[in-house]
């Protein structure tokens, strides 16, 4: 899934150096975005803006982390998380 990266926001929050890293690693980000899409997350670009670091995990690790939340919060976990993204702090490591 192609992600539109809001450069201005990323640059403001994290700095230009982080933006550069992100722009050079769009392949990982897009793979991870696909993973979220399969779990029916709606605003994946928005989630990426809030948690770009999470998307930098290798896809296998990213999937494992998402699965962890899936087990903890159940079938509606995507909805629960999108209502309170601070839940992602549990796996952003």
């Amino acid at each position: 899934m192609e992600i539109n990266i809001n450069s201005e926001v990323i640059s403001d929050i994290y700095g230009d150096d982080v933006l550069d890293v992100i722009l050079n690693n769009t392949d990982i980000i897009e793979k991870n975005a696909d993973i979220l899409k399969k779990y029916n997350f709606k605003d994946i670009e928005g989630i990426f803006e809030m948690y770009p670091t999470l998307f930098m995990n290798f896809p296998k690790q990213f999937k494992e982390k998402i699965e962890k939340l899936h087990k903890k919060y159940g079938e509606n976990f995507s909805e629960i998380i999108e209502n309170d993204l601070s839940i992602l702090e549990e796996i952003d490591e």
Binding site: V18, M50, Q61
Partner: protein, 667 residues
């Protein structure tokens, strides 16, 4: 003739280095005369202000007629020639004046001022010789090489032999071949072949014997035998190596532009002025470096790299042009002359191209060609396209289309042939062909793939920002420090990761992926700010991974609100800009909710929503609000009408009553 003592006396009076003078041409002692030397020096130094170092390089000027020198100087000063070029080729001033003028006019009419600038020394060559060589070799030699051949001391027959030897051995006929005889060239070619040295122009600066010695010295000192080493003799190279080792200077090509002595002087100047000692400083002699440093300081230009490709005067002109056109003075502007920069700015403005660093890699004409190709192929005109010529871009586009590769900036780091090799390697190893792979060559990719497989690291984007060796080091550092090998660790070099780990350990910060988005220096900056203003308990990865600027805006605001403590538990709020936080808090308060959850587990979830979700919520709220307001307004209006109606009726009733009373009284 002149005695050594007398010559030394003259040198002392005029500030000339006697040893250098005599080393360059000892004939001065045989042909020089005291009176004439002084007269010439008076003219050169006092009237035309020639630098002493140029006189030292050309001692022969001192034993020719002063009148002739003066006439030649006058002629050239009034002509279309830069006197700085004459100054560095002083021997032309000793040419017979009539002949100098003839040659000057001939070159200007048949070759142009460019050749006069490049080969100013041709002015000492009679026109007849130039014509002879043109007639004989005009079909084989380019114009500049005709002039170089003419300038050499070879007879026409010898030049013919040289040309033939070059053709037989497929050696490009550049100017330097005329430093040697045909026989010498053959020996040089043999030595080069034995030692697997490419036969490039510079090897002809040396004899075959010298080349053998140089190769030996290079091998002993593990110096690659590149063209630049042939600027020096074997003995000089040994001295240079010694000086470089003493001063811990990498022995790269540019050091061989200078003598060992000059290198020491340059190192001293660099240290005094805190200039990094990189290869580029050796392009200039000490005096020039000092001028450049002064100009850079006056104009607040970082003293590094490209500035040393220009003279101090040129830098000043460039700075002026940049200021007039509001162009940031970055290293790349020094690839170009001031006049070229002006043309480039014009072309960029016409084509609405941002004037960033890479545009200065090309001339204005080249930029126009590139823009045309990009428009034809619908390629965004970003900085990286200017690394290539228009022709190269077309080939790259073709290869990308054939292989269905998205044309992003990084493809222009490679040639079309390199891209094809990379694509092949990626397909063999089932690696997605995305931007980062083009940071590497096909061979490097194969090495990286091998290392990743050995260490069970997924082969995705971030690994290609590192070399295979670097990846191995990073894995080692992570294992030593028990850091999980996530994608983020490859954002930095192994050395940087070690520094980051050290900083985290010193400050007891949890080492997780997001920490590696920042350099050690940036982390320290954030740590210092947070510790000084808010306390150590806020030194968490979720806080530290943000930009220092953003932290300086958001944290004080949250403290003012009395909710800063929640950031320790839930830093998600820091993924918003200050203005966004303020807006959302305003909204939360408007709808009567608390900023922090009642159980103290975190911020109100509104502060964690994506921007889209928040905007949607606000819109919904505004819609409901306006509906409610509408309804309420209607209700008020209705109530007020009823009330008004009642009042009116009351009033009417009262009036009727009054009327009745009045009527009764009238009756």
């Amino acid at each position: 003739m002149i005695t050594e003592t007398r010559l030394k006396e003259i040198c002392e009076n005029y500030g000339i280095d006697y040893k250098k003078l005599v080393k360059n041409n000892s004939n001065i002692l045989y042909y020089g005369e005291y009176g004439k030397i002084c007269a010439t020096l008076d003219f050169l130094r006092n009237e035309v202000h020639i630098e002493v170092k140029n006189i030292e390089k050309c001692p022969s000027i001192l034993y020719f007629s002063t009148e002739n020198i003066r006439d030649n100087w006058k002629f050239l000063n009034e002509s279309n020639i830069m006197m700085s070029d004459v100054e560095t080729s002083l021997h032309i001033l000793s040419t017979e004046n009539k002949q100098l003028q003839e040659t000057y006019n001939y070159i200007m009419d048949n070759y142009g001022p460019r050749y006069l600038k490049a080969i100013t020394s041709i002015l000492r060559v009679p026109v007849s010789r130039i014509k002879e060589i043109e007639n004989k070799f005009g079909n084989y030699l380019k114009q500049k090489n005709i002039l170089r051949a003419a300038y050499s001391r070879h007879t026409v027959e010898e030049i013919e032999k040289i040309v033939n030897v070059c053709r037989e051995n497929k050696i490009p006929i550049t100017g330097t071949v005329f430093h040697r005889t045909a026989e010498e060239i053959e020996k040089i070619v043999e030595v080069c072949e034995e030692n697997e040295i490419p036969v490039t122009g510079r090897v002809f600066n040396r004899t075959a014997e010298e080349i053998e010695k140089i190769v030996k010295v290079c091998e002993e000192n593990e110096i690659p035998v590149t063209g630049s080493v042939f600027n020096r003799t074997a003995e000089e190279i040994e001295k240079i190596v010694e000086v470089c080792k003493k001063n811990e200077i990498p022995i790269t090509g540019n050091v061989f532009l200078r003598t060992a002595e000059e290198i020491e002087e340059i190192v001293e100047v660099c240290k005094e002025n805190e200039i990094p000692i990189t290869g580029s400083v050796f392009r200039k002699i000490v005096e020039e470096i000092e001028k450049i440093v002064n100009v850079c300081r006056e104009n607040k230009i970082p003293i590094a790299g490209n500035v040393f490709s220009k003279t101090a005067e040129e830098i000043e002109k460039i700075v002026e042009v940049c200021k007039e056109n509001e162009i940031p003075i970055t290293g790349s502007v020094f690839y170009r002359k001031a006049e070229e920069i002006e043309k480039i700015v014009e072309v960029c403005k016409e084509n609405e191209i941002p004037i960033t660093g890479n545009v200065f890699l090309k001339t204005a004409e080249e930029i126009e060609e590139i823009v045309e190709v990009c428009k034809e192929n619908k390629i965004p005109i970003t900085g990286s396209v200017f690394r290539k010529t228009a022709e190269e871009i077309e080939k790259i586009v073709e290869v990308c289309k054939e292989n269905k590769i998205l044309i992003t900036g990084s493809v222009f780091l490679k040639t079309a042939e390199e891209i094809e090799k990379i694509v092949e390697v990626c397909k063999e190893n089932k690696i997605p062909i995305t931007g980062n792979v083009f940071l590497k060559t096909a061979e490097e990719i194969e090495e990286i793939v091998e290392v990743c497989k050995e260490n069970k690291i997924p082969i995705t984007g971030s690994v290609f920002s590192r070399t295979a060796e670097e990846i191995e080091k990073i894995v080692e550092v992570c294992k030593e420090n028990k850091i999980p090998i996530t994608g983020s660790v490859f954002f930095k070099t192994a050395k940087e990761i070690e520094k980051i780990v050290e900083v985290c350990k010193e400050n007891k910060i949890q080492i997780i992926g997001s920490i590696f988005l920042k350099s050690a220096k940036q982390l320290e900056e954030n740590i210092e700010y947070i510790r000084d203003n808010f306390g150590e308990e806020y030194l968490t990865p979720g806080v530290l991974s943000k930009s220092n600027e953003n932290l300086k805006q958001t944290l004080p605001y949250l403290k003012e609100l009395g909710v800063l403590g929640m950031v320790k538990i839930s830093p998600t709020i820091l993924t918003l800009k200050l203005s966004e936080i303020q807006e959302r808090i305003g909204f939360i308060q408007k709808i009567g909710e608390p900023i922090v959850k009642s159980d103290g587990s975190g911020f109100n979830s509104i502060l964690t929503w994506t921007r889209k979700k928040y905007a949607k919520r606000v819109k919904e709220y505004d819609k409901i609000s306006s509906q409610d307001i509408g309804k309420a307004t209607y209700m008020v209006a209705v109530e007020q009408c009823d009330e008004a109606d009642g009042v009116i009726q009351g009033l009417v009733a009262e009036q009727v009553k009054q009327d009745i009373i009045q009527n009764r009284s009238n009756e």
